[in-house]
């Protein structure tokens, strides 16, 4: 069961501003029933008063947090000008609700998108998200631009986070390499985010040793042990990792070549690109 905050529960059980505005000045519509959630946001804007939002209503198809996020959004925008609400981020919506479970952050993103769509609708600058940029995730119709944006705005560093925030990669997973490329591109251009993954360019020998050992324990040994094999870390000299195969792996000459490259690939993925693996007999 999701660990929803009391405020999320309250806004779900007693949603504020449900409904439609018949003579709305702006309507923002995002999501689709096929994707599991959809939101239609209605705004009544007082043009004589600096484009101030005098009323907001919503209709949502979706889970508890989707309904709560939409309702929270309406409360956040009423009484403010369009210029003011333009600055609202998905994190603001999540914060207003006392936080959302990580897997549900996409609900707050949907709120922010509906608001943007409504503002664009008001200004006559139609937002067509699917026409901006190329579709990366076909299962949920998410474009590279949208992924890039959630990555930047929320300082995301993993594919899993991207999925939590905008659903991309949550279906068949075939787009995962493309999402990874977008994440890499974003953080290559800018300075690395604070919570960067554990792959710093420069690392002490001690840290490197530690990461190598950790990767072998977590990523490599369990797989080998499944087939009665094993691997042992013998030594590390500079960027050369010396390993020794055990169990069925040690006897199997044919698979050693493949195994060596698998171990190398894993270590390069999780520690540093510079690593090379050498096998020693012990």
């Amino acid at each position: 069961m999701w660990d929803y905050s009391d405020k999320v529960k309250d806004y779900f059980l007693h949603p504020r501003n449900v409904g439609e505005i018949k003579d709305a000045d702006a309507i923002g519509e995002v999501g689709a029933i096929a994707c599991g959630d959809a939101l239609r946001l209605y705004l009544k804007v007082d043009k004589k008063n600096g484009n101030r939002i005098v009323d907001a209503k919503f209709k949502t198809f979706g889970c508890g947090s989707a309904i709560a996020s939409a309702s929270a959004l309406t409360e956040m925008v009423i009484g403010k000008t369009l210029d003011e609400v333009e600055k609202i981020t998905n994190q603001d919506i999540a914060d207003f609700l006392g936080g959302l479970p990580p897997e549900k952050m996409h609900c707050s993103v949907m709120g922010r998108e509906a608001l943007e769509a409504a503002i664009a609708n008001f200004r006559g600058t139609k937002v067509e998200p699917t026409e901006e940029g190329a579709i990366v995730c076909r299962c949920f119709g998410v474009t590279d631009q949208k992924i890039e944006r959630v990555v930047k705005e929320n300082r995301l560093t993993t594919i899993e986070q991207v999925t939590n925030y905008c659903k991309a990669g949550g279906g068949c997973k075939s787009c995962h390499p493309d999402i990874q490329k977008i994440i890499d591109k974003v953080w290559e251009k800018e300075a690395k985010p604070v919570a960067a993954p554990a792959k710093p360019k420069k690392m002490s020998n001690l840290r490197k040793m530690h990461l190598i050992q950790e990767t072998i324990e977590r990523e490599i040994r369990p797989v080998l042990m499944m087939d009665g094999g094993d691997v042992e870390l013998v030594d590390v000299e500079g960027d050369t990792v010396y390993i020794s195969f055990r169990g069925s792996c040690a006897e199997c000459v044919g698979s050693k070549v493949t195994l060596k490259s698998t171990v190398e690939a894993k270590l390069r993925e999780f520690v540093t690109e510079e690593l090379a693996v050498e096998e020693v007999n012990q």
Binding site: G19, I33, C63, D227
Partner: protein, 399 residues
């Protein structure tokens, strides 16, 4: 504490009071190790074998064909891995797209590690096509693993026919019967299924205990290695209290089996028919006849399942959903997708699974409160116009 109406018995069940009572002495007094050479521990061996007889009895097996495990998931893993290990020269496995993750994820793992897996499809009512199975069989097919009854829809597969097809071709057939045991009669002496998984907590025993039936003569290698327990087929000191409990639960299951077909089925049908008759956006998922007597899976079109569950939860009603949001996987249940349930309905599925502990009054309470829950979400939904269209159609049909 608020009142709880528990209609989620395919997820887990209430432990029968008789089971608890039978287990208690094995925590407090008879806490020995059955493998011990002293009477204090060693006497428990007899008790375990008594439980083995009780388990064997409910599925028409002989006690030597039962090994105790930690539950349905272990039984499934052991059956699949144990069969492959015992037949190392064959690399092809047949399963279905609607299996429980305890089978499906094992098969998908194996598919990435040197095996080939064929996943059979199901039709819109969740039924298998046996010709597809026949065509899928190859010379190197080592294992067919297909469930007895589906946990989400309750749809029952023709496992006896599958057993015959497998036997004719010399292929091991494992059947995950976790949802079937205790709900419908099983008789292993009258079919050719090679292995059956069953789980304690699905039939009013405790969590963390289960059993694997392995027909005499079927090739199998142990999955968990260690001591000589369970006749060298499953290592690990026996979970004595839970095994005793499972035995009693199986005896009770046999006793109450007729009630499943009558009273439980009657309550399920009442709940289902009332909802389908009065809610225009409700539709049944799964075949209406070929089904467990306790399960109903209903989709409410244009409303979302997690939201329904949360509102039911406020009323103390415990059910489950195949919606994407409840799983955290972003996509609706793999079972409903395999059945091709339209996306307008796939996100709004609710499963009610009844047990012999449910009362008529509870079912009436649910029937009374469901319309309000759906109406509330309909009012929030941007698709309320679509629901109203369904309502109009329904009233035109009725008038």
């Amino acid at each position: 504490m608020k009142r709880i109406l528990y209609v989620d018995n395919n997820a887990t069940t209430r432990v029968a009071p008789e089971v608890v009572e039978a287990m208690l002495p094995y925590f407090t007094e008879l806490y020995g190790n059955p493998s011990s050479m002293h009477t204090f521990g060693g006497q428990l061996y007899k008790k375990i074998n008594q439980a083995r007889e009780q388990v064997a009895d409910v599925i028409g097996a002989s006690p030597q064909e039962i090994i105790f495990t930690s539950g349905g998931t272990e039984s499934d893993n052991a059956a699949i891995r144990g069969t492959l290990e015992a037949n190392p020269d064959k690399r092809h496995i047949i399963t279905s797209r609607v299996e429980h993750p305890a089978v499906l994820n094992v098969c998908q793992y194996l598919a990435k590690n040197g095996y080939e897996v064929t996943e059979l499809s199901v039709d819109s009512q969740g039924l298998l096509e046996l010709d597809e199975l026949r065509e899928a069989i190859r010379d190197d097919t080592v294992l067919i693993t297909i469930m007895y009854a589906n946990n989400e829809t309750g749809v029952i597969f023709p496992v006896e026919e599958i057993g015959q097809i497998a036997k004719d071709k010399g292929i091991t057939f494992h059947c995950d019967a976790v949802q079937a045991v205790g709900k419908i009669p099983l008789d292993m002496s009258k079919n050719t299924i090679d292995m059956i998984s069953l789980s304690g907590h699905k039939l009013h025993a405790t969590k963390g205990v289960g059993a694997l039936y392995i027909r005499k003569g079927v090739r199998f290698k142990p999955f968990i290695l260690g001591g000589h327990h369970e006749n060298n087929r499953r290592a690990g000191t026996e979970n004595v209290p839970s095994i005793i409990g499972l035995g009693v639960a199986c005896e009770l299951a046999k006793k109450y089996l007729p009630e499943e077909q009558t009273e439980v089925r009657r309550l399920r049908d009442k709940l289902e028919n009332q909802i389908l008759d009065t809610m225009p956006n409700a539709r049944l998922n799964g075949h209406k006849i070929l089904r467990l007597p306790n399960t109903t899976n209903i989709s409410f079109e244009y409303v979302e399942g997690e939201a329904i569950l949360l509102l039911l939860n406020e009323l103390g009603i415990c059910a489950s959903s195949g919606s994407a949001c409840t799983s955290g996987s972003l996509e609706p249940s793999h079972v409903l997708r395999a059945m091709g349930v339209p996306f307008t309905a796939a996100h709004g599925s609710i499963r009610f699974s009844i047990s012999r502990y449910n009362t008529e009054e509870e079912i009436d309470y649910i029937i009374e409160h469901i319309p309000g829950v759906i109406r509330k979400l309909k009012d929030i939904s941007p698709y309320s116009a679509e629901i109203e269209e369904l309502e109009l159609k329904a009233s035109a049909r009725n008038s």
